[in-house]
Amino acid sequence: MNLTIRYFASLREQRGLNEETWSTSASTLGELYEELRQKHGFTLGSELVRPAVDGEFAEMTDPVADGAEVVFVPPVAGG
């Protein structure tokens, strides 16, 4: 299935992209993140990243649906 993935902060930096279309067979958001992490070399573990699907925060254990827009938000501390 095809998804739109959006990145913020350090993930965006490490990916070098704001957004990409991604084909996956991952069944959960957690599996999807692990797949992206291995592919793109993200340093943050999945326990430190919050997923959101179609404008709502979700859980890493939630299923992935075709056509969804998935955002991964890392913690940000600067002030």
Partner: protein, 480 residues
């Protein structure tokens, strides 16, 4: 003449045969301020500016009241309890104008002359205070707020509500220094500034309220001096400390709303926990290079731990120091924090209490992501509660006849244990004691509440925090 003195005050006699009245006011160091026990005081004046403004006040008093002379000596340095802090002497033909001028001079000195008072409390901490506010609004141009009062969402009532709102600003760095001029200008009644740091050269590209000549000085003080200059009607206090789990609840107890401008995740979680426990709305922003995030933790809404059940540590994310930041980013997000604070106090819709707003300044991409309660959240326990009323207080005076409507109410006594709280003699309602210093909205009884304390100040503050189902006993039980 206005004189600043490091030595104990002594005012020589002034022979003047045309003066039939000399009114002398002595201000002394008092043991208590706003419910806190004070050990000693330290006054620090903003030298030349204090003398110039002090002289101006005295000259205006002579002119305004037609008195023959007006003098003032103000102490600086450390003073013990009972010591003379300020002395005003007015001489006039007759006593009435001398009394009036003397009172006016004191009001003006407090509002206009940049003299700071550091109180040392029994608990071991201390705080700098610029002793505003200006009650009568002297010298405050009546048109100051007209452009925002004209907005239907603000109006006179909204402006009054702002004047009654006490803001706690944690961090006077990038976010805090951007928020501050707008907080002061909007007319918030009190601003407490907490920041332990001294100004560094590397701050200046984004912290634009500070000047190069101030490098090395404490930011909390510099920021507070700015507020005093921008809007003398604001009561401002500077706390030169780092916020932590120990001091957070004390700072929050004295405010109605919190702006978090810290640059550490640890501090953000400390403030989240303290704000949820105290029932204060908290506006948090965080930055990364060109991107910002902002959210509101409001009483009854999802909190930061609902979003991050596993508290990330500072080591895993970059601060501005490590990751870099474009100067305008904290500027924009600090101002957005003030925007949220204004909306909360004015009871406007659209507050980010259920959302996280992300924005990227390079692409102008913004996204709002809906946040929800986490059922097992250790701090806010995930129970959906209705949104609280705007910060308003309903007070009732005790006229011996308990109004019929109060008969089913609970009396919540917020006096401290060492004040020996007990049901007041006139009380036949259900009574319980929840000391203000450990106040936790979750411990309140169900139903309608009447909050009481000794004089009606603490109960008023806490009733505002609880919202619609709470009233405060005006004047406190001591007036019953």
């Amino acid at each position: 003449m206005f004189v600043l003195s490091v030595d104990p005050i002594a005012l020589p006699d002034r022979p003047d045969h045309a003066s039939g009245a000399a009114v002398v006011f002595e201000g002394r160091v008092r043991v208590e301020n706003e419910g806190r026990e004070v050990l000693a005081l330290e006054y620090e004046a903003f030298g030349e500016m204090a003398r110039t403004e002090g002289d101006r006040v005295l000259a205006e008093a002579v002119e305004r009241f037609g008195v023959r002379s007006a003098e003032c000596v103000h102490r600086t340095g450390r003073l013990e309890l009972g010591e003379l802090a300020v002395l005003v002497r007015v001489m006039a033909g007759h006593r009435r104008e001398a009394f009036e001028a003397c009172a006016w001079i004191m009001d003006q000195l407090k509002a206009r002359v940049p003299i700071w008072k550091k109180e040392f409390y029994v608990e071991g901490d201390s705080g700098w205070i610029h002793p505003a506010p200006v009650k009568a609004g002297f010298r405050l141009d009546a048109s100051r707020y007209t452009r925002q009062v004209r907005l239907p969402e603000v109006g006179r009532e909204g402006q009054q509500r702002l004047a009654e709102t006490r803001v706690l600003l944690v961090g006077a760095g990038g976010l805090g220094s951007a928020a501050l001029p707008y907080l002061a200008a909007a007319g918030f009644g009190q601003i407490d500034i907490v920041d332990p740091d001294r100004l560094e050269a590397s701050n200046l590209h984004r912290q634009t309220i500070y000047a190069e000549q101030d490098i090395g000085r404490r930011k909390a003080r510099l920021a507070a001096e700015l507020v005093a200059r921008l809007n003398p009607g604001v009561r401002v206090r500077a706390f030169e400390e780092r916020v932590d789990a120990l001091n957070a609840s004390g700072r929050l107890a004295d405010c109605d709303i919190v702006l978090d401008g810290t640059d550490s995740l640890e501090a953000k979680f400390v403030l989240n926990d303290a704000a949820v426990r105290a029932g204060r709305p908290l506006v948090q922003a965080s930055l990364h290079q060109f991107e910002g995030q902002i959210l509101v933790v409001a009483p009854g809404g999802p909190c930061l731990r609902c979003l991050w059940p596993e508290e990330p540590t500072d080591g895993c994310v970059g601060t501005c120091e490590e990751a870099g930041v474009l100067g305008v980013l904290p500027g924009l997000f600090g101002i957005l924090q003030v925007n949220e604070a204004l909306k909360i106090v004015l009871g406007m819709p659209g507050v980010l209490r259920d959302h996280l707003l992300l924005a990227d300044l390079r692409t102008y991409e913004t996204v709002q992501i809906r946040r929800r309660h986490r059922v097992d959240c250790p701090i806010c326990s995930g129970k959906e509660r209705p949104a609280p009323e705007p910060l308003t207080v309903r007070e009732v005076a005790w006229d011996r006849q308990i109004p019929h409507q109060f008969e089913s109410w609970h009396v919540v006594d917020v006096r401290e244990r060492d004040e020996n709280p007990a049901p007041p003699a006139f009380c036949y309602l259900t009574w319980c004691n929840l000391p203000a210093s450990q106040f936790d909205v979750r411990e309140l009884p169900e139903g309608e509440l009447l909050l009481v304390c000794s004089r009606g100040f603490r109960s008023r503050r806490l009733a505002a925090q609880i919202g619609a189902r709470a009233w405060s006993l005006k004047g406190g039980v001591d007036s019953g």
